[in-house]
Amino acid sequence: MSEVQSLIDERRRAGRGCLVGYLPIGFPSLDESIGAAITLANSGVDILELGIPYSDPVMDGPVIQRATQRSLEGGFRVRQVFEALETIRNESAVPTLVMTYWNPVLQFGVRNFAAELKKSGASGLITPDLIPDEAKDWIEISSEFDLDRVFLAAPSSSKERLDAITRNSRGFVYAVSTMGTTGSRSELDSAARALVGRLREANAERICVGLGISTPEQVAEVLKYADGAIVGSAFVSSLETGGIEALRAKAQALSGSIRLG
């Protein structure tokens, strides 16, 4: 069982869910992004999701687009992710997944990328534009390197697709709460609950919900039916507007809602 899986199970036994926190590497600078990730880990976030900035992020809304573009303008290089992972792992025990669009992995070489991930202590990858149908190489190589594979499931996915996504994912299944891109929403789609129900029917053991989650109430709501709540844009936004202090406060507020719940 992978580190992410054990953690989710452990939290479940303790009667609570997980808070998964996303930040892109290199925003606002490489060092500050590493510091920000460590802050999240020390402020109640259970699983870290580190994003690789990419030139064409079709699943991302304006907040994350702005941050990743700034990272790229600041000279971000893919290999910096591995340095960042090592530093973060030295400072915290929180399991860490890397979120990346597929082309950077392809150009690095899938095998080389997997080897570097393993060496730097990461748990695996979340792949927003790689569906299991196109992931033959990644499925083989991630198994060989004992890495997690988090595929996305959408409210529109058919039963057959949910089965295939569940079968091919390891770590957890990323349930997309709504048909759309990343970014805060005032109301969470009821589609999220229905999707998680359908994933359970497809025998998904661990399911985290992402997209649009930004408030303690939303986290608490999602954790009534899912194993984890994934927060991205809300953290990036706090970091962008209020720096590390605002990020810490946001993480504490969101993780506090889990303990109270």
């Binding site: 030139s55 392809l106 150009q107």
Partner: protein
């Protein structure tokens, strides 16, 4: 084995469906609807009727001896897609996809556009079918193609300038995909070229292959044999696939794709994807791509907004890899010179995109033996490019 009618999703090692899961149901639905439509006589008849009565098909073939004479003793014939309603080949594909949208009950169309030709064609189809239309266009392109922005708005479409990334065609595609992910239940994405995830490369080719099918017959009628060479410009590559397809199995016909060489492919400012790129994934397909070592897309540069794209359709990547089509680059200056030459020798003002094919044909004419016949895809007319031409050639003012 025939090279024609490759069904996708893969063309050799190129193509595929590298899309967010949220889009899979939509492209599955589109694939299924298209599979039914393509063999439905009613759908084909309706598309043919629209081609005949709305677009103005078949487009004519024009021999251009004065233009050809500047290069040597070859004969050059132009397939006149510039005479189509809306001024380019783009309408062929758009009418097909709009008809398909109405079959699957999606009454809102979205599109990306670079030069504005595909956006204008989509806005036109939306007006014709009584549908809603939103067009995404890079802010840089809205400035250099202001006339087409006005045309789209007059046709009732909403034009959204895209201010993210490099603010050109690739970013317009990103933004259109984000719209599609968010509104997929009501909206169909009318993709403008033979790139993108399956089924777009195969479907758009099928809607464009009429160009080559007509031209092949017309050349046979006009000169009694097949052409020695066929030339087309390649951005994403829809007019090129459209004219090449009918000739793919005619091994005696050499096929040439001309990419946008910008300031020259030895510089960093060009859009010569096959000449200078390497395989990668962008906008849903594996294909040649201008990218840095990390796989970040590199901004392309071309005087022609319609060719200013760092990717290319996967079928072109495959045709390049098997050697069936030869791809090379034409610089901005060479294209502009060909634009002026065709205008002055034949009274036909080509789009700057198509001028790349004309410049390429000129080079071929100088190389081929005397009496060779070169068929050129004149994919669009140059009206939209008058501001660019005016400043390039200093045409405004008193003198």
């Amino acid at each position: 084995m025939s090279l024609r009618d490759q069904p996708g999703p893969y063309f050799g090692e190129f193509g595929g469906r590298f899309v967010p899961e949220s889009l899979v149901e939509a492209i599955d639905e589109l694939s299924a609807a298209y599979d039914v439509a393509r063999s439905d006589p009613e759908f084909r008849a309706e598309l043919e009727r629209l081609g005949r009565e709305y677009t103005g098909r078949p487009s004519i073939l024009t021999e251009v001896p004065r233009f050809a004479g500047s290069f040597g003793a070859s004969r050059i014939l132009l397939k006149r897609e510039d005479l189509n309603h809306t001024g380019s080949h783009k309408i062929n594909n758009v009418l097909g996809q709009a008809l398909l949208s109405s079959r699957i009950g999606k009454r809102r169309l979205i599109a990306e556009t670079g030069a504005g030709q595909h956006g204008v064609a989509t806005a036109t189809a939306a007006a014709l079918f009584g549908m809603e239309c939103t067009v995404y266009m890079g802010e840089v392109d809205t400035e250099r193609q202001a006339l087409n922005v006005a045309r789209m708005r007059l046709l009732g479409a909403e034009v959204i300038p895209v201010r993210t990334g490099s603010r050109t065609l690739k970013d317009a595609i990103n933004e259109a995909m984000r719209d599609w992910v968010s509104n997929v239940a009501s909206t169909n994405y009318i993709f403008g070229t033979v790139a993108g995830p399956h089924p777009f490369p195969a479907m758009v080719r099928d809607f464009q292959k009429i160009i080559g099918e007509e031209a092949r017959e017309q050349v046979l009628q006009a000169v009694g044999r097949l052409p020695s060479a066929v030339a087309a410009c390649v951005g994403g590559g829809s007019n090129a696939i459209g004219i090449f397809d009918a000739f793919l199995d005619d091994q005696e016909v050499a096929l040439y794709g001309f990419e946008a060489g910008g300031d020259g492919i030895e510089t960093a400012r060009h859009a010569a994807t096959i000449s200078k790129g390497r395989p990668g994934v962008l906008h849903g397909a594996r294909s040649y791509l201008l990218q840095d070592e990390d796989g970040q897309t590199i901004e392309s540069h071309s005087i022609s907004a319609g060719l200013d794209y760092p990717g290319v359709g996967p079928e072109h990547s495959w045709l390049a890899s098997i050697g069936r089509v030869r791809y090379s680059a034409i610089t901005d200056s060479e294209a502009m010179e060909a634009m002026r030459l065709l205008s002055r020798t034949e009274g036909i003002i080509p789009a700057i995109e198509s001028a790349h094919a004309l410049a390429g044909a000129g080079k071929l004419a100088a190389e081929l033996e005397s009496g060779s016949v070169i068929l050129v895809s004149l994919s669009g007319r140059g009206d939209k490019d008058m501001e660019t031409a005016s400043s390039w050639f200093s045409l405004a003012g008193d003198s």
